[in-house]
């Protein structure tokens, strides 16, 4: 191919690629150039580490790709005969040492910065007992369940006190599979592993934060999500107190139905599992309990470790569904 055409092609590809990239980034409103905006000190230190690495890798990127393009243009064959030799040079010990040592220094700087930031990411700041709380986060096929210090439970929606240090004990029952607890704005991922308890933490202002499962955990992994509601301390206290006082509340039953049953079942049509609307199971407490505790067919035992109160809450709620027009 003649040089002119080649150059034009190369230019075209570069310009095209760059334009597309810039347009898409612009359209996305700064979307996707760094981890999501952080709402917790740990997540924000991770973002800072990310940008720190970006600066150095950016320099290396432009250096290497720039040298590549410059050499391609400068040392192209052009009108020279194909078999004409280039400079017959076999190497240079000094250069080898330079491009070994310089990357070592760059990597040491990056590593040093990450280790400098690490305590702000891995370790929760110390706080008085009144300003911290521990919530157990349980990953199940295919929902998240939260256990509060006073014995209260919520499903699919986690409540947490604002501006307090919230420790999370993340686990999965021994009969379940691996999940990964991820609230991008609050912290990095931590796996929920059967038979093991992992720890993470956050300290966030009032807000609602999306959570998902990061590890492929089966057929409805895609749909395994939750929300974290960070609310003022008083509101949080009131919520868990109310939950503990009414362990069979309709509110809990609705959470269970929406975040456990609905992931695989619809009322009026078949989904992953059969339709529930006309299913006598919904009003039959004993059979429903058996299905929840032991599973049936392809359905996992989603309620194997639920308390009786939790099961009663679900039964109470499903009864209202049927009463309110059941087949709807």
């Amino acid at each position: 191919m003649p040089r002119g055409v080649r150059r034009k092609l190369l230019g075209l590809a570069l310009v095209g690629g760059a334009t597309l990239l810039i347009t898409s980034v612009a359209l996305a409103g700064n979307g996707g150039v760094a981890p999501q905006p952080a709402a917790s000190p740990g997540a924000s230190s991770i973002r800072e580490s990310y940008w720190f690495i970006m600066v150095f890798t950016g320099i290396v990127f432009f250096g290497v790709e720039g040298a590549l393009i410059a050499f391609i243009i400068r040392y192209r064959r052009g009108k020279r005969p194909r078999n004409q030799d280039g400079l017959q040079i076999h190497g240079s010990t000094r250069l080898e040492i330079i491009w070994t040592v310089v990357p070592v220094i760059i990597l040491a700087v990056i590593g040093g910065f990450v280790f400098f930031k690490l305590p702000h990411i891995a370790d929760a700041p110390s706080a008085s007992a009144a300003e911290e709380t521990t919530i157990a986060v349980e990953g199940r096929q295919f929902y998240w369940m939260f256990h509060y210090p006073n014995g209260a439970v919520s499903v699919g929606t986690m409540f947490a006190p604002a501006d307090d240090v919230v420790h999370e004990d993340v686990f999965s029952p021994v009969t379940d599979v691996l999940h990964s607890w991820w609230v991008p704005q609050l912290a990095g991922k931590i796996d929920a592993i059967p038979g093991r308890t992992n720890h993470t933490w956050f300290k966030a202002p009032v807000g609602v934060y999306a959570a998902v499962c990061g590890d492929l955990c089966g057929i409805q992994h895609t749909m395994m999500a939750a929300t974290v509601h960070v609310v003022p301390r008083a509101q949080y206290e009131a919520f868990i107190k109310e939950r503990a006082a009414n362990p069979e509340s309709l509110a809990l039953g609705k959470e269970e139905f929406d975040h456990v049953c609905s992931v695989c079942h619809k009322l009026d049509s078949a989904y992953v599992g059969p339709a529930l609307g006309q299913n006598p199971l919904l009003t039959h407490a004993k059979d429903l309990t058996t299905v929840l505790r032991q599973g049936v067919g392809k359905m996992p035992a989603v309620g194997s470790d639920w308390t009786d109160a939790q099961i009663n809450a679900l039964v109470a709620y499903t009864k209202t569904l049927v009463k309110n027009g059941g087949n709807g």
Binding site: H90, I110, F115
Partner: protein
């Protein structure tokens, strides 16, 4: 000193009549060149199959809430796509290049164990067939991802697909293991006279290292898979926490194999690049010893970094820190290679034939894959990036932008030697540009998707805006790549009968495989020169010129 040592062409061994038919001769062959070609062609067929799965995946993800391929079928597609591209495409096609080229490059008449070589190929075919037939199994093919993490794969996948997946990977491991032994014995013992360790081509260095990596890493995978098989079928509890087993044990076993596996797929690709660049820049490779030693260095450290795949499992901070440092150390020999290739271009006389375009594309893309790896090595940052499309982008920049680009470069480069005809340059350039542009469209936006929070292995999403834009661009890129592959196929068909005949050394290359005819006779060489440097053909040309015969 006499440079040319006469070696008698061996007497051809007796072959039964029935083995001499057009098809039978291929089915019963023990010739390393034919086995190499069989490996390469079979891998390309599986590349098509894995590519179709990838297109299905990208179609499903093109826009929010698609319904092309969901849930179970999607998980099967993801699992078999990954398993195919790694175990049925990249590893075996590199074995194919190794088989074809190693004896020619070191001046041997065949591999050390030709029958073992054939066994290795046929085991590979068997493993591939089992994997694809598993789609017909009760419950469909395996759907726990190519990593097949327990306890999902051990206790929660009742179908036979997972068992067949284990069987297939076991057979493929055996095939690679046998092949690796063969490479090591061949390279150690069968080099031409005068070919010392510092005179063997860099591709042979890479294959030698690749073979050692396979030999040392595969047994751990086999152990892990055997435990999974027993847990599933024999009532053992290696990975079952309800009975004292550990799910994390599987991850250690898998990644102790899995990370060296990355270098198994990348080092020979780098070897190909180290062969192509000097030829088209008309220069010797810059820093032969540094490039060879960096190959060994990467391989060594490759065994010490597996934990960086497990940063989110909650290992102690000291352990995470070690794996971070070791992973960053690997960037250093990798950088050495890139800098040496750039230095090889410096003050060269660069021709842009298709093999060279792919080699330059490799440098451009692999650099991106290497740099995104530094983010992933920093474990706190990895906690945000792991299990997202950022990782998907990273591994495709390494394994597609890296390995597959090198493989295509190698195909264009050695095609004339293998088949005696040149591939078409115009179609080759179209192939390259379509693939290069399509690749970047497909995978660059996936970095952003990962940062936006898109998890890998999800079959749908509901977000519009940036998510939808990036996903649509990615799908357009995937189909552009598919067109590029069709151009490549068209090139093969077009040149099969009418392509320009190749002379012995059409690229004016320096290594020994170009000393013989294109394609070479079954015994490879009539005579094998005494080797006095890493560039025997250049030595030969120079001597002929001095004698006034060139």
């Amino acid at each position: 000193m006499a440079a040319n040592v006469e070696v008698q062409a061996p007497v051809r061994p007796y072959r039964a009549d029935w083995k001499q038919g057009r098809i039978a001769s291929w089915l019963t062959t023990v010739d390393h060149k034919r086995i190499g070609i069989l490996y390469i062609c079979t891998s390309l067929v599986f590349f098509g199959a894995g590519g179709i799965l990838a297109l299905l995946i990208r179609t499903q993800l093109a826009t929010p809430d698609e319904n092309v391929l969901t849930r179970s079928s999607y998980n099967q597609a993801v699992t078999i796509h990954g398993t195919t591209m790694i175990f049925l495409v990249i590893v075996p096609i590199l074995a194919g290049f190794g088989n074809y080229l190693v004896p020619l490059m070191i001046g041997a008449r065949d591999m050390a164990f030709p029958r073992l070589n054939a066994l290795s190929y046929w085991l590979y075919v068997l493993g591939g067939i089992i994997l694809y037939l598993s789609f017909e199994a009760k419950g469909g093919a395996a759907q726990a991802g190519w990593t097949s993490y327990v306890t999902l794969s051990s206790l929660h996948e009742p179908g036979r697909g997972q068992d067949l997946w284990i069987l297939s990977v076991h057979i493929l491991s055996l095939a690679s293991f046998v092949g690796a032994l063969n490479f090591i014995v061949t390279i150690t013992n069968m080099r031409a006279r005068g070919m010392t360790w510092t005179r063997i081509p860099l591709f042979v260095w890479a294959i030698y290292t690749y073979a050692w990596l396979l030999l040392l890493a595969l047994p751990t995978l086999s152990a892990g898979l055997t435990m999974m098989l027993l847990d599933r079928n024999a009532g053992t509890h290696f990975f079952d926490p309800a009975h004292g087993g550990s799910p994390i044990l599987y991850q250690h076993a898998f990644w102790f194999f899995g990370h060296p596996e990355v270098y198994i797929m990348v080092l020979p690709a780098m070897g190909i690049i180290s062969e192509i660049i000097p030829v088209f820049a008309r220069k010797p490779i810059f820093g032969y010893k540094a490039v060879a030693m960096s190959t060994v260095g990467i391989a060594f450290f490759g065994f010490l970094v597996w934990g960086h795949h497990m940063f989110a499992v909650g290992l102690p901070t000291a352990v995470d820190s070690w794996f971070m440092i070791a992973s960053m150390i690997i960037a250093i020999p990798t950088g050495v290679k890139i800098f040496n290739w750039l230095a090889t271009l410096w003050r060269g006389n660069i021709s842009f034939d298709t093999p060279m375009l792919f080699a330059l594309g490799f440098i451009a893309l692999f650099t991106i894959g290497g740099l995104s790896g530094i983010f992933l090595a920093a474990f706190p940052v990895d906690w945000q990036l792991t299990q997202t499309y950022y990782v998907v982008a990273h591994i495709h920049y390494v394994l597609f932008g890296g390995s597959i680009f090198a493989i295509f470069g190698g195909l264009y480069y050695w095609w004339p030697k293998m088949f005696g005809r040149m591939l078409d340059e115009r179609l080759g350039k179209a192939h390259f540009w379509l693939l290069f542009i399509g690749f970047n469209l497909a995978f660059f936006p996936q970095h952003m998707l990962g940062l936006l929070g898109m998890r890998r292995r999800i079959y749908t999403y509901s977000q519009h805006g940036a998510w939808e834009i990036y996903n649509t661009i990615s799908t357009v890129g995937a189909f552009t790549m598919a067109i590029a592959i069709l151009v490549f196929l068209a090139n093969i068909v077009k040149t099969a009968r009418t392509g320009q005949r190749a002379v012995n050394d059409p690229w004016l290359a320096d290594t020994l495989e170009w000393y013989t005819t294109s394609p070479p006779p079954p015994w490879n060489f009539d005579r094998i020169p005494y080797i006095i440097s890493a560039r025997p053909l250049r030595d030969l040309r120079r001597r002929l010129a001095q004698e006034g015969r060139l």
